[in-house]
């Protein structure tokens, strides 16, 4: 029989020591009872957070100018969503992992046109609005350059936008139907009708909140609320949750990378962090086959603490 060199980080010698009684069912039952009780105690003492969802109605009533400015950014296509790129549109190449344009390759599989989906279609759903209907027809018939001219002039004047007496007011001339669109969409939002219009564009039954969530995220209201709850990206972001709860603490390493250079300053931070985490996950998966990494346990000798009783009873080494 050919002898093979013993690899201490891969092989084990057959156990020739003794055995002791072991009641696996009893152990499992006790563990389940203890964990159940611990869960019960933690639930009674600490409960769980449940901050109500923000609605576009809430947002537009709390900060109508912020909402109206966001609506304008959807119409003039300067919002984050309008300029996002894949999977929503082709406005940007998106992030790159070295030479790899992963998002762009996949394409706009969840198409979002902010002008159509966030402004025009919701406005079209409003009944009995003769002025708005006329303005929608004017928009529809206008050339691209005319629309751009209206939007450019209105956007310049919007720096002084106010919301007074229930009306969005911007002093601007030759801006076509844009003032009516922004004002009517704001009024629609304040009644709650826009919340509904955004989720029902694909039918009566829906569980897809892509449109209202993108719209909300384009404004500053949601981000300000999150900042107050210590949930911003530079506050270790999405691993946390509202209130003093542990949140997704297991995402600490993923969130950590966003806090340090080069990730914290890179335009490709998201895909870079994902790349790093994927690579680390693969390394973790294949630890048993990676020389060096699989040697650390033996070299650090922490196993002697873990198997303290065993080594106290032996004279190995």
């Amino acid at each position: 029989m050919k002898s093979k060199h013993f690899r201490p980080d891969v092989d084990v010698a057959p156990w020739k020591g003794g055995h002791s009684p072991y009641d696996i069912i009893k152990e499992g039952t006790i563990a389940l009872i203890v964990v159940g009780l611990l869960t019960l105690i933690l639930a009674v003492v600490f409960g769980s957070p449940d901050e109500p969802a923000v609605t576009i109605k809430t947002w537009s009533n709390a900060t109508p100018v912020d909402f109206a400015m966001t609506a304008l950014s959807e119409l003039n296509q300067t919002s984050t969503s309008a300029q996002y790129g894949a999977p929503y549109n082709n406005a940007a190449v998106g992030q790159k992992l070295g030479p790899l344009e992963l998002a762009k390759w996949v394409g706009d599989r969840i198409p979002v046109n902010t002008v159509r989906d966030f402004v025009i279609n919701p406005l079209k759903s409003l009944p009995d609005q003769p002025i708005l209907t006329t303005d929608l027809q004017q928009w529809s018939k206008a050339s691209s350059s005319t629309r751009n001219s209206w939007l450019t002039d209105y956007t310049k004047a919007s720096a002084h936008m106010t919301y007074v007496n229930g009306q969005v007011t911007v002093t601007a001339n030759n801006v076509g139907p844009v003032p009516v669109f922004i004002n009517d969409l704001t009024q629609m939002a304040r009644t709650g009708a826009l919340d509904q219009a955004l989720v029902t564009q694909s039918g009566f039954y829906t569980t897809d909140f892509t449109l209202p969530l993108l719209f909300l995220a384009d404004g500053s209201y949601l981000a300000n609320l999150a900042d107050h709850q210590h949930l911003s990206g530079d506050q270790w972001g999405m691993m946390n949750e509202t209130g003093n709860y542990p949140g997704q603490a297991w995402l600490w390493l993923y969130t950590f990378w966003y806090q340090v250079a080069p990730f914290s300053t890179s335009a490709n931070a998201d895909v870079l962090v994902w790349g790093v985490m994927m690579a680390l996950s693969v390394v973790l998966l294949f630890v048993p086959f990676i020389p060096g990494l699989r040697t650390i346990p033996r070299k650090t000798r922490i196993y002697r603490v873990i198997w303290r009783e065993h080594y106290q009873g032996t004279t190995t080494e």
Partner: protein, 208 residues
């Protein structure tokens, strides 16, 4: 039906193979090697127990649907049970993982046991994440709108839309728990087949 025919049946062969791999005394052992005596072993069974509580509390939440816990104090309490069992589950699993690393628990042909454990860990992270984004509250709004950028940047967001609550809820209550349970079952069976890794015995020799 002849004896030979019975012997050739898929069922007979599968049973024989299974019993050979995992005889009853291995599946439900009544003794263990004396080295299996350390606080670290608590965390494996704690992880399993927490998973049972996670599944049980999640099943209770499922009975009345995803909105119930916002309007009912009983529902909110069940949600609290679900949350804290998840926290215990991850705490125990991470300690279990680090413990197994420093025990080099892949030794002796146990690499697949390690690998199923790692995949279960990663699957559990995805399961928890989909739970956070399908809570239908402020947390789910904020976490999903933040997380979309990372997933979209990889191209996966085109198929795994974190802003689609229905899709996330289905992944959370069906696909990922199913994967986690199957992987956990496989992991535990592998532990039973291979046994618990023994301590380092330096200067030992094996024959091939």
């Amino acid at each position: 039906m002849s004896y030979t025919e019975i012997e050739r049946q898929w069922t007979t062969r599968l049973r024989r193979r299974f019993v050979h791999l995992l005889p009853p005394e291995k599946l439900l052992p009544d003794t263990q090697p004396t080295y299996v005596s350390s606080w670290i072993y608590v965390f494996g069974v704690t992880t399993l127990s927490a998973l049972v509580v996670v599944i049980a509390s999640g099943s209770l939440l499922a009975i009345r649907g995803p909105q119930w816990w916002h309007t009912s104090s009983v529902g909110h309490f069940v949600n609290s049970l679900h949350l804290w069992s998840v926290e215990i589950f991850f705490f125990a699993m991470v300690v279990h993982l680090w413990g197994k690393y420093f025990m080099a628990a892949w030794r002796g042909g146990r690499a697949l046991t390690w690998m199923t454990g790692v995949v279960t860990f990663l699957t559990s992270i995805a399961a928890a994440f989909t739970g956070y984004v399908s809570q239908t509250n402020f947390d789910s709004q904020w976490i999903s709108t933040q997380a979309k950028d990372g997933i979209n940047a990889t191209g996966a967001g085109a198929y795994f839309n974190v802003l689609n609550m229905g899709q996330m809820l289905m992944w959370h209550i069906v696909l990922l728990p199913l994967a986690a349970i199957v992987l956990t079952g496989l992991h535990v069976l592998l532990v039973r087949v291979k046994g618990v890794v023994p301590p380092f015995e330096e200067n030992a020799k094996v024959n091939a």
